[in-house]
C-alpha cells in the first residue's frame, strides 16, 4: 500500500525563487526512505506540504490513496502520519512530559484515563518512564528529542516523518535513537545531514537538488 505520494510539487515562499520545482516521491508501507540535500533545499517544506501545513502552488498530494487538497482533508493525514519537528522546543509546548504526550490522544477523543494509559505505555516502550512528570523545558537536548518521538508515537501513526532527528544529539543519544527507530514497525521518511545515520536507518535515498528529488 502506498502511504504517501507527492507528484510534481511546486512551492515558493513569497518573494523568493521557487524551493520545490516539480518534486515527486512515493513512500510505501514499511519502507524507509531518506532525503538528503543542502540547507534551504526545501526538505522541511516538503514535509509541511505532505501534512498540509503549507499548500503547494502546484502538484498533487495523495495520502492513503486519497488526494488531499483542503485543511479538512489533512485532519486524517495528521492522525495517521507523525511528524517529528527539527526543533524539539517547537513540539513540546505543554508544561509536563505526560501532558505533552497525552495531548495527541486527548485530541483524538480518548478519555483522560485512556490517554494516561497511552502515556505510560509509550514511555515504557521507549524506557523513558523516569521523565514522565518532568517539566519539558528543563529536559536536556537528548531527552527532549526522545520525548518528541514519544509524543508522536502516542498517536499510533502508520508512518513517521523525521526532520533531522539527530540535530544536536551526542553519539550516545544518537545510537539510542537509532536503536529505537530500527525497532519500530512504521514506514519512515527521514531528512538528515548525517550520512552514517541515513545509511543505518534508511539506505534507500533520494536527493533534493534544484527543487527536484533525484
Amino acid at each position: 500500500m502506498t502511504i504517501l505520494k507527492l507528484e510534481d510539487i511546486h512551492f515558493a515562499y513569497p518573494g523568493h525563487a521557487p524551493v520545490l520545482d516539480g518534486a515527486s516521491l512515493q513512500l510505501e508501507a514499511g519502507q524507509r526512505l531518506s532525503i538528503a540535500g543542502p540547507n534551504g533545499a526545501g526538505k522541511s517544506t516538503l514535509f509541511h506540504i505532505a501534512l498540509g501545513l503549507q499548500a503547494p502552488s502546484a502538484g498533487r498530494v495523495t495520502v492513503f490513496g486519497k488526494e488531499r487538497r483542503v485543511e479538512v482533508d489533512f485532519h486524517e493525514v495528521r492522525r495517521r502520519i507523525g511528524l517529528v519537528f527539527q526543533d524539539p522546543d517547537d513540539q513540546l509546548f505543554c508544561p509536563t512530559v505526560a501532558e505533552d504526550i497525552a495531548f495527541g490522544p486527548l485530541n483524538l477523543g480518548r478519555s483522560k484515563a485512556e490517554a494516561l494509559a497511552i502515556v505510560d505505555k509509550v514511555l515504557t516502550d521507549l524506557s523513558l518512564m523516569h521523565l514522565r512528570d518532568r517539566i519539558t523545558h528543563k529536559l536536556s537536548g537528548g531527552e527532549k528529542r526522545l520525548v518528541t518521538l514519544a509524543t508522536v508515537l502516542a498517536m499510533e501513526p502508520e508512518a513517521l516523518l523525521l526532520d533531522e532527528p539527530t540535530n544536536a544529539l551526542d553519539t550516545e543519544n544518537e545510537t539510542r535513537l537509532l536503536d529505537i527507530l530500527l525497532g519500530l514497525p512504521q514506514a519512515i521518511l527521514l531528512v538528515s545531514h548525517a550520512p552514517a545515520f541515513r545509511e543505518a536507518l534508511a539506505p534507500d535515498s533520494l536527493e533534493l537538488r534544484n527543487g527536484r528529488l533525484v
Partner: protein
Amino acid sequence: MAHALEPQAKTLAEATSDAPYGVIGDLDPRIRIVMACLFAIVTVALATIPALISALSTSIGLLLLSRLPIRRTLKRMAMMDSFIIFMLVLLPFSMPGEAMFTVFGFPASWQGLWKAIEIALTANAVILSLMVLVGTMEPVTLGHALHKLRCPEVLVHLLMFTIRYIEVLREEYLRLRSAMKIRGFRPSTNWHTYRSFGYLVGMMLVRAIERSERILGAMKCRGFSGRLMLLQDFCMTRRDYVFAVLFSLVCISLLMLDFL
C-alpha cells in the same frame, strides 16, 4: 515567585506530594488561591490601623508557617514598596488637614500621614499573603488550579504558554546579547546603542512570531482543535477544609476588629 527565589529544578510530582513549604505547601492549590483572594479583599476593606496591623501580622504568621526564607521574602516584599514609595511620601503633602510640619512652604498633614501608613500596611499585608499562599506554587500547578477554578480558558492557556516559553525566549535573548558582546558591543548613551537594542527587540519579536507559527503547526499535526486538556486532578482533604474554616474565621475577626 518562589520559583524565582529558589531556582532548583523541581518536578511536578515533587511539588504536589513532597512540598518544601511546610504546612502551606501541603494545602490544595485551589484553596490557597481562594483564601489569598479572600484575605486580599478583607484587607482592602479594613480602615483602622490596629486591624491593618493585625492583617499584616496574619501574613507574617503565614510566612513563618510556610518555611520560606524570611529575609529574602521580606526583601521581595520591600521591592514592591519601591513602586508606591513616591505616592506614600507625597500623600501627607497632597492631603488637606492639620499641619504636621512644612517643607518649602508646603504643609504636611497628619491625616495624609495616617493615610500613607494605612496604604503601606494594606499593600504589604496583601502582597505577603499572596507570596506565601500563591507564590510558593510551581507555576504549572497555579495554571492547573486556575483552570479548575473556572478561570477563563484563554487566560489559563496564555499563562501555560508563558510558563513554557519564557525560558526559551530568555535563552534566545541571552544568545543574541552575547553575540553582541563578543563583537565588542558596550551599551552607552548614544544612537548606536538605542538602534542596536531596537534590533535586538525586533529580532526577538520576529523569532517569537516564527516560533509560534511552528508551534501551531506542531499542534495541528497532533490534532489540535482549539481546546487544551489539562490532566492534573486535585482533591480536597480534611486539612484543606480545616484551613479554609480557620482562615475565614481570621478574616471575619479582622473585619470585626475593624468595626469595633
